[in-house]
């Protein structure tokens, strides 16, 4: 760029923040000229204008996407609830023939899968997208289009998976899809489950990226980590958990689908496979998943309770301890779902012990809530009613959890209705009730001052609370009497009839409660225009919202010095409204938010955020095609869709990310000038790559775990004399890919020192080396026959995994080359190259590990 303001060492002399920080009281109380203020508001309004007409659906603002997301999740939840009611009708009397066995199997599988994958996890993402920026006084999420892409993926995948039930082809192997039942299942049900839900898991990881970066980098200036709203702590922990919990399931899905589609025998014992590997991978995901659902919901309680008690939370650090502690310990519990699988007792003991240990941090947060309520002046309100219900139900579910963590008791009640009762108590108490509290609490925030009805709210609460206990409390007893879960009917001689009838009747009471709730949620409330801005007199930032609604998120980004700024910083609202804090204006008419430092939230730079676009919807649709067509074994259209999805994403990146700014720095107000561009660890995009690749590395580690698993589980793995990967070609692959990584790394360094041509040459060489390395990799295993035994199958699976990464890595290298040639990447503005280099650190690591595992390890193991 000829007008580059920092020659001649462009890449190494970067603009820095300039000006005073923190602001003084005089600076903050300086009045703003009303005309100037109005002009700024007009500019902001223009930049954040909402698309109208059909283009409404191209919106990417967090409040729009969050609202669609949560309403869609609610709809899926209601559908799954209807399936539950139909099952309850079938079970009401012995020997009933309302549903046949096959349909019943489809219903319970879809009920569990939909409640978990289409409601509980997406609902957390939806609520976070909706409220997190407001908690943090940010204009929007750091990557609005990524949220939108995640939402459209979720919508398409959800309709596909849930719709299958209407065509009698739904999955029917239970929500945990145990092989060999499901690998041998005829029909496409299992494929719908695997591919449809894998697709939705991608959306979850996208949300995790968004939320972690949001919490770490998009806090308002001054909001140090010890001042963050507790919700942000929980979201941070849960985002981290998603990165370690979801990838093992994605790896498992990958192996599972390879077995279903191509007969690679990962779970087939006759050819060296082992169905237990699926159980491990599923539950390494499945148990943390319970806490991934629970923590953000209890985080809502952590926001509601201080407001209800009208005082700050008692023991802020203790809540952080609790969230982080649960986050870790929840990964040591997965085998308690597998106590009856014949593992050594001593191994069961480890998981039993960890299951008991997790009670400690979980209990601490409940005591913290109780303490806050005890020392505060509690105001009776609907949200508090729901929180009280949540705590009562959750504690009961937790107590049966303590019982179930004891292995011998677990053996006795395994797969009985006792389990059904336990898990519904934890999920209703730990998720449904707190989320309902959140809906009542945040409704005036979502709908800008309108409130939900107190009378209808009480009705809904008591119907659901009584209905729930009447339906599920007896199930403990039904289970202890021996009724197994997942049976479509039972004989009259079992004496379970009256208990089941009670549960069925009560389940309709729950349904009536939800009907009241949904009506209250959607009924017109025109008479409530212009009500209070902060009806609960809460202390956190989201209640500084604009009533009536403005699209800009916040008028300006405040300077925060307390945990409950609306209580503890008296002039905050007035100053926010008059635009006296940061970023009260948009100089070039772009959407922008502030990026701050991780620990102390010092302002670092202005982040341009993306606006409405069709491309995200298009990208999601093609991604959907790439996952959905393989269900029907239609591979050519799937490949075409995959290619178009990549083209869409590239177009999206090319046109809107890491744009060279109109000016190197910008005035954000209060005398502060900040850079308009960041690359490397300062940039949110770099963090997004880091987080995504960490999740990716977890999935890869799960595949490598498979290698060791088969080695410990079987006496002849790898089988003696079995052909493996070609040694010389594997070594060549390792060398070529190491060189490709090196070329990328060196290119990044010299590019910053203005040696643009040499860097372009290295990037071109890197693309070539990647292609060559990919070719030698495939040639190394071309002679293996993966259908014959699990060993060649696993080698090939690792190769497929790596080859896909090499393809993406090569695209990344070529993208940087193209950006450089097109003048869209310069030594000063080199975020693309930084991000691709970071991605290559991970790819190179996976490449070397893969080569070692397929080339060297078999020799050592044998």
């Amino acid at each position: 760029m000829s007008n580059d303001p920092f020659p001649p060492f462009t890449g190494t002399h970067r603009p820095r923040p300039e000006g005073p920080f923190p602001p003084t009281e005089e600076m903050l109380s300086e009045p703003v000229n009303p005309e100037e203020q109005a002009a700024r508001e007009a500019r902001l309004r223009e930049a954040w204008k909402e698309p109208t007409g059909i283009a409404y659906w191209t919106a990417v603002n967090n409040d729009k996407v969050g609202a669609w997301y949560s309403l869609t999740a609610l709809f899926f939840m209601l559908c799954a609830g209807v399936l539950a009611l139909l099952m309850r009708i079938q079970l009401a009397v012995p020997g009933n023939d309302f549903l046949d066995a096959d349909r019943y199997n489809q219903f319970f599988t879809m009920h569990g899968s939909a409640m978990m994958f289409l409601f509980a996890v997406p609902m957390f993402e939806a609520i976070s997208i909706l409220v997190l920026p407001a908690f943090l006084g940010a204009r929007d999420m750091p990557f609005p289009r990524l949220s939108a892409y995640g939402y459209w993926c979720f919508l398409i995948g959800g309709i596909f998976v849930l719709g299958s039930v209407l065509f009698d082809v739904a999955p029917r192997g239970g929500w945990f899809m145990y092989p060999p039942l499901t690998t041998r299942d005829q029909g496409i049900g299992s494929d719908i489950w695997l591919l449809g839900l894998s697709f939705i898991e991608v959306a979850s990881i996208a949300a995790a990226v968004e939320l972690i970066v949001g919490v770490l980098k998009c806090r308002p200036p001054g909001m140090r980590v010890n001042l963050m709203p507790l919700y942000a702590w929980y979201v941070l922990v849960v985002g981290g958990m998603i990165l370690f919990a979801f990838p093992p399931l994605i790896a498992g899905d990958f192996l599972f689908e390879m077995e279903r589609s191509f007969d690679w025998p990962f779970f087939d014992p006759t050819r060296g496979g082992d169905p237990m590997l699926w159980q491990h991978l599923f539950w390494i995901f499945g148990h943390p998943e319970v806490y991934i659902i629970f923590l953000p919901s209890i985080a809502i309680a952590a926001m509601v309770i201080p407001t209800v008690a009208q005082r700050p939370i008692v023991g802020y650090s203790w809540i952080v301890l609790s969230a982080v502690g649960v986050g870790f310990l929840s990964f040591g519990l997965w085998v308690h779902h597998m106590f009856t699988t014949g593992l050594p007792n001593i191994s069961l003991g480890f998981f039993s012990a960890a299951s008991e240990a997790v009670v400690i941090p979980t209990g601490i947060q409940i005591f913290v809530f109780a303490a806050t309520l005890m020392v505060g002046k509690v105001q009776k309100s609907l949200p508090m009613l729901w929180i009280a219900g949540a705590l009562a139900i959750f504690v009961l579910g937790g107590l049966t959890g303590v019982m179930l963590a004891i292995a011998p008791f677990n053996w006795a009640v395994h797969d009985t209705y006792f389990i059904v009762a336990h898990l519904h108590y934890t999920l209703f108490g730990g998720m449904i009730f707190p989320v309902m509290a959140g809906v009542y609490y945040f409704y005036p925030f979502f709908r800008k001052g309108k409130m939900m009805s107190v009378t209808l709210g009480r009705w809904a609460f008591w119907l659901i609370f009584i209905g729930f206990n009447a339906a599920f409390l007896p199930m403990h007893y039904t289970g202890l009497m021996g009724m197994p879960r997942r049976v479509f009917t039972y004989g009259a001689g079992m004496d379970w009839g009256w208990l089941n009838m009670l549960s069925t009747v009560a389940s309709f009471v729950i349904a009536a409660g939800f009907a009241v709730f949904v009506w209250d949620l959607i009924r017109p409330k025109r008479d409530m225009e212009g009500r209070q801005r902060n009806p609960w007199n809460a202390g956190t930032l989201e209640w500084s919202h604009d009533v009536p609604e403005e699209n800009w998120g916040v008028r300006c980004i405040p300077f925060i010095t307390s945990r409950y700024p609306l209580w503890q910083q008296p002039k905050l609202i007035e100053r926010m409204d008059s635009g006296r804090f940061y970023l009260p204006d948009t100089e070039f008419g772009h959407r922008e938010t502030l990026v701050t430092s991780v620990l102390d939230a010092r302002p670092l730079h202005i982040q341009r955020v993306t606006g409405p676009a069709w491309i995200t919807i298009l990208a999601a649709a093609f991604t959907g095609g790439a996952f959905i067509f393989p269900t029907f074994h239609w591979y050519p259209p799937a490949i075409v869709c995959g290619a178009f999805a990549i083209v869409c994403v590239l177009y999206w990146l090319w046109t809107t990310t890491a744009q060279i700014p109109d000016a190197p720095t910008g005035d954000v107000g209060l005398g502060l000038r900040l850079p308009r561009y960041a690359a490397g660890p300062d940039a949110p995009g770099w963090w997004a790559v880091w987080i995504t690749m960490l999740g990716d590395a977890t999935a890869f580690a799960s595949l490598v775990f498979g290698f060791f698993f088969y080695w410990t589980a079987s006496t002849d793995f790898p089988p003696a004399g079995a052909p493996g990967a070609d040694g010389a070609l594997t070594a060549a692959t390792a060398v070529l890919l190491a060189l490709s990584w090196g070329a990328t790394r060196v290119a990044r360094g010299i590019h910053r020192h203005d040696r643009i041509r040499a860097a372009q040459g290295l990037m071109a060489a890197a693309v070539l080396l990647t292609a060559l390395g990919g070719t030698t990799l495939v040639l190394a295993v071309i002679d293996l026959q993966p259908t014959t035994h699990v060993y060649p199958a696993l080698v090939c699976a690792l190769v497929v995994w790596l080859a896909a990464h090499l393809f993406l890595g090569g695209v990344g290298q070529a993208y940087c080359l193209a950006r450089s040639l097109a003048g869209r990447m310069t030594p000063l503005y080199d975020a693309d190259l930084c991000n691709v280099t970071l991605m290559w650190h991970f790819i190179a690591l996976q490449a070397l590990v893969t080569c070692a595992v397929i080339g060297l390890l078999p020799g050592w193991m044998a």
Binding site: V324, G325, I346, A354, A357, S597, V598, D682
Partner: protein, 131 residues
């Protein structure tokens, strides 16, 4: 450039430091589980666990020592500047209060992690067989 690196280092590094004790718990857990799996599947005849017990007790002692070290360092950071001695209520919006908070969280997480480690070693002490 260098203070940018510092920002990166002090930022996430300090935040991750509070999770050091839980990470030790996690490694201890994985070592116990992995060692037992390999021992029982591959290394022992007849299911005795004597050698395994000794090895895992040693691992546990090391893990507890490391967690104790985390806790002590955390305690020092938490109480730095005489907090808790003169009865003065400290501020909340300065660097010291942030550091103290991270120290407090470190101490609390160390305690929970230590309990977790002790819980996990109990089966090894109580169940003397692979079967």
């Amino acid at each position: 450039m260098s203070d940018r690196k510092e920002e990166f280092r002090t930022g996430v590094g300090s935040l991750m430091k509070i999770t050091l004790a839980p990470w030790i718990w996690a490694f201890h857990f994985v070592i116990c589980y992995g060692a037992t799996a390999v021992w029982c599947a591959r290394l022992t005849e007849g299911g005795d666990t004597d050698t395994l017990q000794i090895a895992l007790i040693a691992v546990t002692v090391v893990a507890l020592a490391c967690i104790a070290a985390c806790g002590i360092v955390g305690k020092r950071v938490w109480t730095r500047g005489g907090f808790g001695e003169d009865g003065e209520i400290p501020g909340i919006d300065d660097e010291e209060s942030r550091t103290r908070f991270l120290g407090h969280a470190t101490v609390l997480l160390s305690i929970v992690s230590a309990i977790g480690v002790v819980f996990v070693i109990l089966p090894v002490l109580m169940i003397g067989t692979c079967r």
